[in-house]
């Protein structure tokens, strides 16, 4: 399925199948060279965490995976992000960003439910695809809400506006919205930074469940969180991927000095 991995490469660290992989990936905001030669493997049905200090490019890298940068003028991708098993380069100009976003969902930092009902929020991805059959929508919405551990709390008020939910519930709703689209990868951009510890714990639990089915890439500035929930961790600094490794190894025996300084709290 994948090309043979060079022994020295980050990809060689992952001994299981890959879902995606960036190769010599660069990104520019206008003249600002925000990402430099990033080689990041993303293992299938595993959680890969991106950590690093503010401005290191971790969110920029995450948002490259669903082509969010296409929304704003002056942005430029260079290099490749291969998506497996069909082995397409998802940042290639010939690839339709809308198709990519339908295959790769995203959960944002601040819960951003749409000004619609709970039902419509979860059904959004299907409605965007033109699905109108009520029975299909109902089935998918229930499945997604159950998947996001929200069904029992909202099943009697699916027609309420989503704004009436609490912050933690809103974020689970956003996860349900992402799940309902049957994505291959879900991108999480600091999904718990706006939540209290209890809501955070429930989201982390949820991520552990979801990864049984979906590949997860998560940006977090909380190192404990990365250590708790991820299988692989990438440490980024100033737009470069400094170190990539299995989470249990990277946090115990970092190979690079910068990684060690960061995870021991010497900077960041």
């Amino acid at each position: 399925m994948n090309e043979p991995r060079k022994p020295e490469s980050n990809a060689a660290i992952v001994t299981e199948p890959l879902k995606a992989e960036t190769r010599k990936f660069n990104f520019y905001y206008g003249d600002n060279h925000a990402l430099k030669n990033v080689d990041l493997p993303v293992a299938e049905r595993r959680v890969t965490a991106l950590i690093g200090p503010s401005g290191c490019g971790k969110s920029t890298l995450l948002r490259s995976f669903n082509r969010m940068h296409d929304l704003y003028p002056g942005n430029r991708y260079e290099g490749e992000i291969r998506l497996y098993p069909d082995d397409v380069d998802l940042v290639s100009p010939t690839v339709d960003p809308i198709e990519i976003r339908m295959r790769i969902s995203m959960v944002f930092q601040k819960p951003n439910p749409f000004p619609k009902t709970i039902f419509e929020n979860v059904a959004y991805g299907l409605m965007v695809r033109g699905e109108k059959r009520r029975s299909v929508l109902e089935e998918k919405v229930e499945e997604a809400l159950r998947g996001a551990a929200l069904w029992d709390e909202v099943k009697d008020r699916l027609d309420d506006l989503a704004f009436n939910l609490s912050g933690g519930q809103q974020q689970r709703l956003c996860i349900a919205r992402a799940l309902a689209a049957d994505p291959e990868i879900i991108l999480f951009d600091e999904p718990t930074s706006a939540l209290d510890p209890i809501a955070t714990a429930s989201i982390e639990e949820l991520i552990a469940e979801i990864k049984e089915k979906v590949t997860i890439l998560i940006v977090t500035h909380n190192m404990q969180q990365a250590a708790r929930i991820s299988d692989y961790t990438a440490f980024m600094y100033l737009g470069e991927l400094i170190e990539f490794g299995r989470t249990d190894e990277l946090f115990v025996r970092p190979r690079k000095k910068q990684t060690e300084d960061y995870i021991t709290g010497r900077f960041g």
Partner: protein
């Protein structure tokens, strides 16, 4: 207590805390605060007072009118002939004239203003939007008298080619041009509401694979719904109160008809006519402008209340 004293004493006479001075200044400070508060209160009170005064004067003057004309005749009569020997004061012709012209204006300004706002906020490249917006604002800056003659001398002849037998004065032309006039208001207020929708919502929609159009219709529009409604209400209010265009292009004959091809007078057009001296000061006919003015205020108030209700019912949490 004694701890506090020593802390203050440490700084000596020129304490870095300026405690002595702060204490002696207390009364001065409070006095100043009170004066400023009073000035601000008077300023705020003025706005309220003027509004109340306008309504009071309208009510008072209208009451002398209603001493001669029954309210029932005024509200249900279909003939408005204050200049005639046997004057009749049924205001329905004026009301209908106002409603028909405002409705035509709304049919133009509502959809057009909404589409322009949607384009500027969601679709236009930022640089193009920067060029287009001043043009739109220019349209809002054109004096209404210019619009009036534009309707009479340009739009009406044009319409006469399409609709044979169209009179030189007609509500259609006035309404259409009035609609053009309020397009910038509707567009600008709607666009502000759409721009106020957080980028995070749009990104959430795009991230689900939505197109620009889907995002605009399914996320931005419901999120800015109350603002768009407010824009419509504001636009209609302006149309109802608009004077010059209808006075010039719709004719000034009170005419009880819903046919937009007919000439008619609106409430405002009639007030202008009287104010320009067609009726002797102090006569019942003259007093009638206060009665119809009151109706105008009530209509505007009604629209504002509807707007407020819509706002409250579909309220977003940003």
């Amino acid at each position: 207590m004694s701890d506090a004293m020593t802390a203050a004493d440490k700084g000596g006479g020129s304490s870095s805390l300026y405690l002595d001075r702060i204490r002696t200044m207390r009364h001065v400070r409070n006095g100043k605060e009170r004066i400023i508060e009073a000035i601000l209160f008077v300023a705020a009170f003025c706005a309220v007072a003027v509004t109340v005064a306008i309504v009071a004067i309208l009510l008072y003057e209208a009451s002398t009118f209603f001493a001669h004309v029954s309210l029932v005749e005024f509200l249900t009569g279909t003939e408005w002939t204050p200049l005639f020997e046997r004057a009749s004061f049924g205001m329905l012709p004026l009301l209908v004239g106002t409603v028909v012209t405002s409705f035509i204006a709304f049919l133009v300004a509502g959809p057009l203003g909404f589409l322009i706002a949607m384009y500027l906020s969601e679709f236009a490249p930022p640089k193009l939007a920067e060029v287009l917006k001043p043009f739109l604002e220019l349209l809002a800056g054109v004096p209404t008298i210019v619009y009036g003659y534009f309707a009479l001398l340009f739009v009406t002849p044009l319409l006469q080619k399409i609709i044979p037998g169209l009179p030189g004065f007609n509500m259609l032309s006035a309404g259409l041009v009035m609609g053009l006039m309020i397009v910038p208001y509707v567009a600008s207020v709607s666009e502000d509401a759409m721009r106020a929708v957080p980028m995070a919502l749009r990104e959430g929609s795009y991230a689900m694979g939505a197109t620009r159009f889907q995002t605009a219709m399914w996320v931005v529009l419901p999120a800015s719904f109350s603002g768009v409604m407010a824009a419509f209400v504001l636009g209609v209010s302006r149309a109802v109160g608009e004077t010059m265009i209808v006075a010039i292009a719709a004719g000034q004959q009170p005419n009880f008809t819903f046919d937009p091809r007919e000439p008619a007078a609106t409430i405002t057009a009639f007030i202008v006519q009287v104010a320009m001296g067609d009726l002797p000061h102090g006569s019942i006919g003259y007093q009638s402008i206060f009665a119809v003015g009151l109706v105008l205020v009530v209509i505007t108030l009604f629209f504002n209340l509807i707007g407020q209700m819509l706002r409250r019912r579909i309220r977003e949490v940003y």
